[in-house]
Symmetry: C2
Subunit: 86 residues, 2 copies
């Protein structure tokens, strides 16, 4: 399935969350990720994220069976890191 | 249509972007918004956002014809502001 994941965590945990999400998805903006992922891998990501997060931290996942059902548009700067293009 | 909008802007422009996006959508996390919006209103939002944004600022919009095509799950804290529940 295709998902969009957005996290909002305390600064001290940002690095860990970034590293974790990058291991499963493409980094498209600040704390926003997207990509194709299996249901099993998504469950794994959620469990691992849950272990990192504390207090008011949150991770929102929007899942779609088909990427074509979502149309993405970027206004302003396209900050996609180079490592996703390679 | 149903959209998810996520912005990443310089701190000095966060307040303006927050106020603008709130006028069109529901605020669900830090810089993440969702909601039903007409194509016309979405265009209006993009134009107004473009006027606020500078340099590396960006706004990403994921649009879906049907909210049912997206399944949302929240891991951790549900920070949805009270004004969206009322």
């Amino acid at each position: 399935m295709y998902i969009i994941a957005v996290y909002d965590v305390d600064k001290g945990r940002c690095g860990k969350m970034l590293k974790l999400c990058r291991a499963y998805l493409n980094h498209i903006q600040n704390s926003v990720f997207e990509g194709e992922i299996s249901e099993g891998k998504l469950e794994e990501l959620k469990i691992r994220a849950g272990k990192i997060m504390k207090n008011d931290d949150s991770l929102i996942v929007f899942a779609s069976r088909n990427e074509k059902w979502l149309e993405k548009s970027i206004i302003g700067s396209d900050k996609r890191p180079v490592d996703n293009i390679l």
